[in-house]
Symmetry: C2
Subunit: 356 residues, 2 copies
Amino acid sequence: MKIGLCGYGVIGSKVKELTCIKNDFEVVKVFDKPIKKEELKDLYVSDYKDITNDPTIDIVVEAMGGDELPYIIIKDALQNKKSVVTSNKEVVSLHLNEFNELAKNNNVYFMFEASVGGGIPIINTLIQNQLVNNINHIYGIINGTTNYILTKMEEGKSFDEALINAQKNGFAESDPTSDLEGLDMVRKISILSDIAYHTFINVSKVNHKGITKITKEVIDSFNKDGYIIKYICESINKNNNVLLNVEPICIKKDNLLSNIHNEYNCIVLNGDNTGLLSFIGKGAGDFPTSSAIISDMYYILNNNGYKYLNLNNQVNYIDNMNDNEYLVYIEEDKKIIKVNNIEKYNNYFSARIFRG
Amino acid sequence: MKIGLCGYGVIGSKVKELTCIKNDFEVVKVFDKPIKKEELKDLYVSDYKDITNDPTIDIVVEAMGGDELPYIIIKDALQNKKSVVTSNKEVVSLHLNEFNELAKNNNVYFMFEASVGGGIPIINTLIQNQLVNNINHIYGIINGTTNYILTKMEEGKSFDEALINAQKNGFAESDPTSDLEGLDMVRKISILSDIAYHTFINVSKVNHKGITKITKEVIDSFNKDGYIIKYICESINKNNNVLLNVEPICIKKDNLLSNIHNEYNCIVLNGDNTGLLSFIGKGAGDFPTSSAIISDMYYILNNNGYKYLNLNNQVNYIDNMNDNEYLVYIEEDKKIIKVNNIEKYNNYFSARIFRG
């Protein structure tokens, strides 16, 4: 199949490199800023329409990031009856309902595995799982940058040192605001909730608190009490009353989530038939994310991708649930955490502590 | 779609119950021993051919267990151009290559998600993942019965008490030999290796040691040193030299596998692009396993199941690898385990200890 690639950054260039060693796909055009022209030679196009209007191109891969231009390109590609694969959580979280309808009406695929969890195959797994299960609870660590930073702080580095370290290792962008303030996880937990609850979450309704106020001293203090600070997202659906939350939380050391280190992510789904399902893998990095994009390309090649989502369910957004229901329960009852001295830390940062 | 169900035990009856609340499927005939006739009334058939020859039936679900009759039924169903869904690891591990060819030649589906890992969607995930990744290492805990027993022994019960406890809770069969001696995990790790290495593993080539010699005293002794005994399967492929192993192993307490309790399973895949991917969920029980069967039925209904496997690769079976390569490496380098006092325990049972 012939691929038109939009965006030739860390992810886009790795997609091109990995497809080169597969006979099934060929990247025939690449759209990016003029600065990439020299490197890309004949493949370079300066106008995205050279890709979306090209009748020989089967799949448009969007790996640009951001919202405005990607939105226009994806829409144009779908309207021109091209399947689209994207790794862009921002544009997916804002427009999944529209892309889903466009793909349906034009009889093509819209695939977005790489938008959540890097190399973890959570999107297509969740789409299949919700056919058989009612899923009313999703939670986990789904931002590699901040988990990397918190891991390094746990190991003794200051916040600033940990951030620079993350940037050096390619796990944090030069402007890491959307990671540090939680917007990245807001987008990802919204996408997962869209699929699980058959709705389209308004991302502005998701509560989120950042991690920039967490100091090494706070981490050490919790550590002595047997807790680790992790940056968690959580989504609960109770009879279409939906609560979504992104915040730093204290977790007991023997909890599964406490043992997710560095750029690894962990996503937990609670289905009524399967029970808790946890997925752990690298949530960031060029190889895992590109691998997810190429996996979607194979779904399209083999004509066995998912067949459109129902996102028409209406939900109410709430800020609180009954305390007994508003908790993250991990694996077994005995692992639910109850802490009595939360007041001690309330002055330092806004972390909630898991309650039983 | 119309379903013909073969086997009306714990799993089969739950499949019928769960499909009743879905409008997409209808169980129209059930084959089992005459003792089930009264309960099943008009649905009951005493001859499986009433199902495999019925032109109105779309999918044959086999949930009988065992090898001989299931083999005949699955073969007959596929030859009669019916898709087949099975939870039977024994028959899949022995005949996957033949079923795969029959499904291909008759243009129907052969699906077996429920045969490994209960509610964990490992089979279809692995089939998709190997399109993009070279997977050369698979390991984990994929027998719910023995993990439940070892968990209860860790909590203070004797082996016999733990086994009775498992049987009472429906996690162990009345004859638990295949679980306790490792045959169940041999079958499952063979199936996963078939898919990952594009071959057909001869199950008789898989090394396996049982857990019946493990006593509470041995567990306590390891525990004091910071180790937990887990029953692990492992499969390594190095340039088509393949080593498969099922045995009890000592694992450090902060390791991911040490924190898999009761009937939970954990399967880890190591792909060259995605890195380590771990999947955790309930590996036994009627709801999770039936859910996996119905998920496969949806793949068939939506016509988006996988399109046949390449199992033609030839491999060599070896019993040992270079010590430095023959190890289970978990998540991060720092978690590889080195133990110097293994001799202390060699007299008790045959457990290998993870080496770095």
